[in-house]
């Protein structure tokens, strides 16, 4: 009875939330758990074939939702926190929403992305059968303390999960270490693809002996074919590898030299997301024949190099930490069209209050002859402007008004506009873009 009440309350709360235009996907779960603290535990029992969770600093949402799309495409039923609410409450929301009004629920698979620091708390409610870890980078340090703390939290969570099959990024020494002595498969990119630039690396010292680690080649941040010359710790055997990579135009590569992947995604890092999903499906024993079709049908989440046509292409990208930002900058610079760039930095709780990380991003690389104008905005517009000043990159406009910034870019001679934002700037920016789109469709009349 409590269960039904909890489900109803969650559903009502979601409807109420939508009516007032709130996109919070954790509030319904908060309410449901208050009414029925065992809700997740009870409902998770009705997941028939398996529970797959995805953790990691970057790429969680894309990996999780792509996996969900692939499973649906294969005809399975799933429960999935597609909106990215990834703490205990968000998981509760996903389960409650999947119930019918009698509180009945069943699914073949639960496909859940989980915040690294919340994994222990979530695993008190459900035990995953499979766990994907994408990577570990510096992220929101003021929430997690230091990266060592995140590693500890994940180790504890994995131990709680017991008999879980791990699917790990073998190119990341910080992630690969979770497989030691455990049941793990690894994915990785087994050839040099990008120029070997020097950027901030986390964990450049061997995790086993503290000696400086070396690379045969690396991809970005600390990801690559690493080894320790001192103790011999090295990148593990890669069970699912990507080679024959082409990034010009559509993204193409081969998995294990045999399976061709051909998708219209942007961003080198998406190779990892796709590999993670392919690996998971293989480990789960699911046919991967229709994988390219599933990839083609997957709609990227808001703000993952999301293209909106405002008379000229405007591309919105979320980047929350140095690794993500460096990747975004690299993707922007691979586009040789003349471009305007807007960077928005906020410092609300979900962004991390500390914006020190801006100094770990290689913003000097954002400059080349194709950069038309650069605009800074967001709550911390002065911090990001200063960052550019000390990177010798000229900021053309500093403004608190995103709409004004976008409109100015639409009137320049640049062919494309990129907007790089951190977390809490994402939804407001997308709203602003859609608002401008509507105005354009209404003949440019201001819709005040």
């Amino acid at each position: 009875m409590r269960k039904i009440l909890a489900v109803w309350a969650a559903k009502l709360s979601a409807i109420a939330g939508r009516m007032i235009g709130k996109k919070s996907s954790s509030t319904p779960g908060t309410i449901a758990l208050k009414i029925c603290p065992n809700l997740i535990r009870i409902l998770a029992k009705n997941v028939e074939k398996g529970i797959i969770v995805t953790c990691g600093t970057n790429g969680k949402t894309t990996t999780n939702n792509l996996l969900n799309t692939a499973l649906l495409k294969c005809g399975y039923t799933t429960v999935c926190n597609t909106l990215g609410a990834n703490m205990v409450n968000g998981i509760a929301t996903a389960f409650a929403m999947a119930c019918d009004l009698k509180g009945q629920f069943s699914a073949d698979y639960a496909v859940l992305e989980i915040d690294e620091a919340s994994a222990r708390r979530v695993f008190e409610h459900l035990k995953p059968n499979y766990m994907i870890i994408t990577n570990l980078f510096r992220d929101q340090l003021d929430r997690y303390g230091e990266i060592d703390i995140t590693v500890d939290l994940l180790n504890q969570a994995i131990d709680m999960a017991g008999d879980v099959k791990l699917i790990l990024n073998g190119d990341d020494p910080l992630t690969a270490q979770f497989g030691d002595g455990r049941n793990a498969k690894y994915f990785g990119i087994s050839e040099q693809v990008l120029p070997q630039i020097d950027e901030t690396k986390e964990g450049q010292f061997c995790l086993k002996c503290g000696h400086e680690q070396k690379y045969n080649y690396f991809h970005y941040s600390q990801l690559g074919d690493y080894y320790c010359p001192s103790c011999g710790n090295a990148r593990p055997h890669i069970d699912f590898d990507a080679t024959d990579i082409s990034l010009s135009g559509a993204m193409k590569f081969k998995v294990n030299k045999t399976v061709d992947i051909d998708v219209n995604y942007r961003g080198f890092y998406n190779i990892y997301n796709i590999l993670a999903v392919y690996s998971a499906l293989s480990v789960m024993g699911i046919e991967t024949g229709g994988f390219n079709r599933a990839l083609a049908e997957y709609k990227p989440q808001i703000g993952r190099m999301e293209l909106i046509d405002l008379g000229k292409p405007v591309i919105l990208n979320l980047a929350k930490n140095p690794a993500g930002f460096n990747q975004a900058i690299q993707t922007v610079m691979l586009d040789k069209r003349r471009k305007d760039v807007i960077v928005a930095i906020n410092d609300l709780a979900n962004d991390g209050r500390d914006v020190s990380w801006l100094w770990d991003v290689d913003f000097d690389k954002l400059y080349d002859e194709n950069l038309n104008t650069l605009t800074t905005t967001g709550i911390r517009l002065y911090d990001i402007s200063l960052r550019f000043k000390y990177a010798d990159v000229k900021v053309d406009y500093i403004t608190k008004n995103m709409k004004e910034a976008i409109k100015r870019c639409l009137s320049t001679k640049a062919e494309v506009c990129y907007i790089l934002v951190n977390y809490t700037a994402l939804y407001p920016t997308q709203n602003t873009m859609l608002e401008i789109k509507r105005e354009l469709e209404n003949g440019g009349v201001e819709n005040v």
């Binding site: 340090l141 010292f205 770990d360 200063l386 960052r387």
Partner: protein
Amino acid sequence: MSDNRELNIIHLYPDLLNLYGDRGNIACMQKRLNWRGIGANVSTCTNSDHSINLEAADIIFVGGGSDREQELVCGLLLKKKQELVDYVEGGGVLVAVCGGYQLLGKYYQTASSKIEGLGILDIYTDAGDDRLIGNVVLQSELFDQKIVGFENHAGRTFIGSHTPLGKVVYGRGNTGDSGYEGVVYKNVVATYLHGPLLPKNPMLCDYILGCAMKKKYEDFTGFEPLNDELENVANKYIEDRFAGEK
């Protein structure tokens, strides 16, 4: 007077201690010298190359890192302890941030172990139960502009009779409740305010650079001002937001 003048800046173990964008402080010192026509040679002492020449240093910078990395650096620096003590006592400029600040003291007592420090400052640090995290605004006696930054530390640092860097106007500071933050001793500036401390604090950066110039060039009388409009707006924004009129 700016002909051929230059400062040698040594960044200690950026490969080990660079947790919160410490390189912003190096970039800031370098730029503010260059903009005035003064050279800045930045060299690093790393885990694979320990051969720093402290004799030639005008400014030494040491940043913050995770506990594991900090312990590694501590072991490495203890070998240079006497050199560093002589450097500081002789008026050498040393800037230490976060973990680097703790290293200058007698010890850092964590929950599990006692890490011996360099003993350059008569201070010590105990690990607290929780981390002190957040924006900080300080009033220093060195200049009028507030010092603004961000702290994130579990250590509680007791500075005894040392002069603090500033009075806490907003935030937690050395121990969370002492009301003071950091230490200024001779030409040492040590603080928990990590990462890009200097870019938003042009007065503090110029104070540090000025100390080094004075020591190296007897005829140095002061810097020509730079266009710090953006720096000052960024500084004032933090002051107003966190320590503004209630």
